[in-house]
Symmetry: C2
Subunit: 413 residues, 2 copies
């Protein structure tokens, strides 16, 4: 029997009616003859409510205790979903992250999965049960409860699928797949039938919020097919997998944008070896992810260093960078959270010169100023003013002919 892992996000289990609907969906999969492992997030806004509760006690609660608090959210979900499946007459068992064998490091609130011990899950599957595992959480080797950070439930699901050698990991969400751009911004955006891990990774990192980047990385590493689909319809979604079969002639696969971005700049740092190391190792120690690093060296032997972080991390990043800047003798630190990122992604980009230029041209024609540019082999990202970002997505999407209206999408590039 093949194993299928299904992951349902918070909006899919926001209330008792939706939980019952999810239970039906899970039972259908089991009745098709598969062994089913289900990963669920906390109900609706539970996590935000718990964070608000903690803030009433402490402005800066210890991270270990935040994890202790937040992990209750998923524990409620798994118990309720197990009850709903039991109500449908199927044997079922719920497991916390720790019981499900999700062993992590001790980086509380942003823990990384070290390994997955599948003994208990396999034992319960062998007993004919549907197994529900709490997403977003794990335990350290000392049994301390950890959480995996934003969107960690996706990572739990894909890691379990990898460890169990599942046939597929289905990610149920409130959109029905991965689009060439956010359909709320670009109504003519097309749904992709499939997409490679690399492209999905860029899409995910860049703000197409359907799938957590770390989950995609794990999927790529263990070659787990990830099926992104809607929990509210039966339609096939988008398959994330190694080989793109369809649309391989597309140079640009999609346009992503991210508004959870802030810009940090350190101005006039004396240009010595080790400067970048000092700054970014200090941030890494605090588990702050940095993106889009740009360094410009001036005539007077000083350097400006610009980079972006997520807005949630801005306050802490500023503190850390100001301390380091003082040590290094920099002139000033600037921060700006009135920025957003727009990006084009496509595996075919590397062999097509002029792709970046076409993006810059589209933005220029729309009178949108580019603040920072960063490129990789399969993407080009531009930081723009926050108020320009939606317009930027639309004009870039159009410039690359990605709309449904255009059957020759991308082929002309």
């Amino acid at each position: 029997m093949a194993i299928v892992v299904q992951k349902f996000g918070g909006s899919s289990v926001a209330n008792p009616e939706r939980i019952k609907a999810v239970a039906k969906r899970v039972v259908e999969a089991k009745d098709r003859g598969d062994d089913v492992v289900v990963v669920v997030s906390a109900l609706g806004d539970t996590t935000d409510e718990l964070i608000a509760l903690a803030r009433q006690i402490s402005e800066r609660p210890p991270k270990r205790e935040m994890d202790m608090l937040l992990a209750t959210g998923e524990q409620v979900s798994i118990a309720l979903l197990a009850m709903a499946i039991h109500e449908l007459g199927r044997p079922v068992v719920s497991l916390t992250g720790g019981q499900g064998g999700i062993i992590t490091d001790a980086t509380h609130t942003k823990a990384k999965i070290l390994h997955v011990n599948t003994d208990r899950v396999r034992r319960e599957l062998a007993a004919g049960k549907i197994v529900i595992v709490a997403g977003f959480q794990g335990v350290t080797p000392d049994y301390d409860i950890t959480t995996l950070g934003r969107g960690g439930s996706d990572t739990t699901a894909v890691a379990l699928a990898a460890a169990l050698k599942a046939r597929e990991c289905e990610i149920y969400t409130d959109v029905d797949g991965v689009y060439t751009a956010d359909p709320r911004v670009v109504p003519s955006a097309r749904k992709l039938a499939d997409i490679s891990y690399g492209e999905m990774l860029e899409m995910a990192s860049l703000g197409a919020l359907v799938l957590q980047p770390r989950a995609v990385e794990v999927g790529a590493m263990y070659n787990v097919p990830i099926h992104v689909r809607s929990s509210f319809s039966r339609e096939t979604g988008t398959l994330v997998r190694e080989e793109r079969v369809v649309e391989k002639d597309l140079v640009v696969t999609g346009v992503a944008h991210d508004v959870n971005v802030a810009k940090v700049g350190i101005l006039d740092v004396p240009d010595r070896p080790g400067v970048a190391y000092r700054i970014f190792s200090a941030l890494a120690q605090e588990a702050i992810n940095v993106d889009m690093i740009v360094q410009t060296t001036k005539e007077q032997q000083t350097t400006d260093m610009l980079f972006s972080v997520s807005r949630d991390d801005l306050a802490r990043a500023k503190e850390i960078v100001e301390a380091v800047a003082k040590e290094l003798g920099a002139r000033d630190v600037i921060v700006n959270d009135n920025v957003a990122k727009v990006s084009i992604i496509g595996a075919g980009m590397v062999s097509n010169p002029g792709v970046a230029a076409r993006m810059f041209e589209a933005l220029a024609k729309a009178d949108i100023n580019i603040q920072v540019i960063s490129t990789s082999e399969i993407k080009v990202s531009c930081l723009v003013r926050a108020e320009d970002v939606l317009k930027a997505v639309r004009v870039v999407h159009e410039a690359f002919g990605l709309s449904q209206a255009d059957p020759e999408a991308g082929a002309a590039l």
Copy 2:
């Protein structure tokens, strides 16, 4: 350094302000030089809210999943209290029941503590930390989460105190001690300075809700002094301990009442050996506690069996008893939840004839009909109509001269 265990109930941690007040109280104890272990219940009505949520999914949720769900209540409390103590600048760590070493059997929703593994708690205390342990919950040897049933947090606290050889277990509650009767019913009731385990056990079992009977049993078994006191005042409460020092001349220590009672009767059971065994083993298998068993054998070789259960258990008890009654060939099963229990408790009772008679006399004078009587060496209980119970408490309290107004309290008996 001596270890003190402090237990705070749900009303003591009902909101962020009260949690902060509890944190201060804990820190005061730590600053007096003791090692402090704190046990907390779920916030305010959390447990009831979770039960209501489960009922929206299933009328009869699996008990294992109920435990998974309910255990989140205390996990929220311990995390928030840890944050509040951290905010006061003291090192602190919160532990779930499982992390705190509370190992139980697998009787979900009514689990019994098998043993307490104090390794982790001792390690954290040795590191100078205040240790917070979730009440009401534990894990089976297989790491499945269990809950201890009603008032289980008291049991957690006393069991931890016993295992840690604590100097004292303080039970903080919303009353300031144990009274000769419920002060809301008998305004002139007196607070007892101390009381023996045996008397407290009867008081607790009989509905004086300040302390869980199982907690008292554990306290008696390991000789843990239990100090019942108010979380809203600094006053000394009532000390539950082996030797009563004060008031030992009192024949009747107090009057207890319990409205969470229902009566079950099996009428005209053929009077054969093993009848009682069949009925009560079936109930025991479902972990239903039975109290006040009365059997009356009639001329026609049949027996009536009457007993009381808690109202929560009535529906299940009825089902079980009806099945057994059918097998045994009984004529009928009756149930009645319009009853309540009133009891007198006193260690001196056994050597004082006429105590029970004085109680019956007081009830008769007040025109209160007695439905079932049950006695032990240190108590006499009567089942009366629910609407009569408060009057019953008052007249019995008066009959034994227990009021504050009477300095000769009880001496005349």
